[in-house]
């Protein structure tokens, strides 16, 4: 950040700045995609208008919803394990906020530059399983328990394809550092032609496919929405939650969807980079120019919207899997495919 403002910030100053930005980076895109995709796009797909009353084209609908949820009574069932019940949304949101920590938005515009960035992201993303299991267990409701257990079974089954799909990218980039992965894609060449860089969806399209399927399952979006399955389990592990606690699960789900889309954009679509020949035309320094700290977030947002579009498109197109089909799909198709992908990537990396 210092390159933009040409002043050095103290640690506490930059930290407060980062915390404010994290708040924005998690909640604003979540609200935006919920309105754009969940309210509007889906309505158009289903030949209806969606929200039209609150604000122009219903654009203030989300604020109205938040206002509505804020007025709902906060109910904790008498039978529930109160402390665990209350703690569960915290755990889910902690996972979300830690996930955004490693996403790079520009050459300097990132919260933390861990050497093992993607590894950290994969680690904290699975923390939310604990929160969901806590919610399902502590509610002391049969629906919640079944939902929570389904969620746990599903999330661990799809954690593996997620991790293994990332290995292909790590092999190609030769680093676990998120910034390094972006740089490797910008500096990459396709058969000696560097004008487009080498965004890994060209070479890792199988990895991208596995990653997106696994993300869909990790987020419990349809066709993998058995943990919530409103026609079978009312609302799964969220059944007993009301008011703002319920909304926080909701926010966690969609914010995490965006951050996974950010991660997918970083790993497969070239992150905050644009095709290098355009960057070289714009600035002499190319991608090292400080302006990319401002262009980068916009580029990331564009790529994120592209990927979340696919997530919601799939969500509202395919019917729900059966529980055994879900496990079979992960263990008998995605994991072997991911292992083959790693082996082929390794061979090609060494040969070329």
């Amino acid at each position: 950040m210092s390159a933009v403002f040409a002043v050095e910030f103290a640690f506490w100053q930059s930290t407060i700045f980062k915390l404010l930005l994290a708040f924005v980076a998690v909640l604003i895109p979540a609200g935006g995609t919920v309105y754009m995709y969940l309210f509007k796009m889906v309505s158009f797909m289903q030949s209806r208008l969606g929200p039209m009353e609150a604000g122009p084209y219903g654009s203030m609908q989300l604020l109205a919803e938040v206002g509505k949820w804020a007025q709902k009574e906060d109910i904790v069932p008498t039978n529930a394990d109160r402390r665990v019940f209350v703690a569960a949304p915290y755990v889910v949101l902690i996972s979300t906020f830690l996930l955004v920590l490693v996403v790079p938005f520009g050459p300097d515009a990132m919260f933390v530059n861990f050497d093992t960035g993607i590894f950290f992201a994969l680690g904290v993303s699975s923390v939310s399983v604990i929160g969901i299991l806590m919610a399902g267990w502590a509610s002391a409701s049969k629906y919640s328990l079944i939902g929570g257990l389904r969620a746990a079974g599903q999330l661990i089954a799809y954690e593996l394809p997620l991790v293994l799909a990332v290995v292909g990218v790590v092999v190609q980039a030769g680093t676990l550092n998120m910034q390094g992965i972006v740089r490797a894609q910008i500096d990459g060449e396709i058969f000696g032609f560097g004008g487009l860089g080498n965004p890994y969806f060209f070479t890792q399209f199988i990895g991208l496919f596995i990653f997106l399927v696994a993300v869909q399952a990790e987020l419990a979006q349809s066709p993998f929405d058995m943990p919530i399955a409103e026609s079978e389990l009312v609302s799964g592990y969220m059944t007993e939650y009301s008011g703002f606690r319920f909304l926080l699960f909701f926010i966690g789900e969609f914010a995490t969807a965006n951050i996974f889309a950010f991660l997918a954009a970083t790993l497969f679509l070239g992150g905050w980079g644009i095709p290098p020949f355009i960057a070289d035309l714009m600035f002499e320094a190319g991608h090292d120019h400080w302006a990319f700290n401002l262009i980068g977030p916009a580029v990331m947002l564009t790529k994120m919207l592209l990927i979340t579009f696919v997530i919601y498109w799939v969500r509202f197109t395919y019917p729900r899997f059966r529980e055994d089909q879900l496990q079979t799909f992960a263990w008998k198709f995605l994991i072997p495919l991911a292992l083959v992908n790693i082996a082929v990537t390794g061979v090609l990396k060494v040969v070329f």
Binding site: E73, L98, N113, S141, I156, V167, I342, V350
Partner: protein, 121 residues
Amino acid sequence: MSDFLREYLLVLLFGLLAVGVVGGFVGLASLLRPDRPTPAKLENYESGVDPTGSVWSQSQIRYYIFALLFVMFDVEAVFIFPWATRLEAFGFFGLIEMVIFIFILALGLAYAWRKGVLRWV
């Protein structure tokens, strides 16, 4: 404090930010929301009828074998990552080593498959 630890201090602070966001939202909403609990309202939801049986009922966890399998595979995935970052330095030696490793991994999966562990029980 070293830069390394400072980066992880930020992890802690982001965790606290999440706690603050949740606590803040729920706290702010408490200014708006009514609070009129009745015994019926605080009962567990069971499609609108009175709940039957104990709520802390037992349930068969069908996929605990999957969980065991997952633990093994996840640990092995951790071994793959350091190799993946250093593949260029290891060259053919590292490649052949890892192909053997992945083969053994796949063999384990094939064994579990053959044994019917991956079938829904």
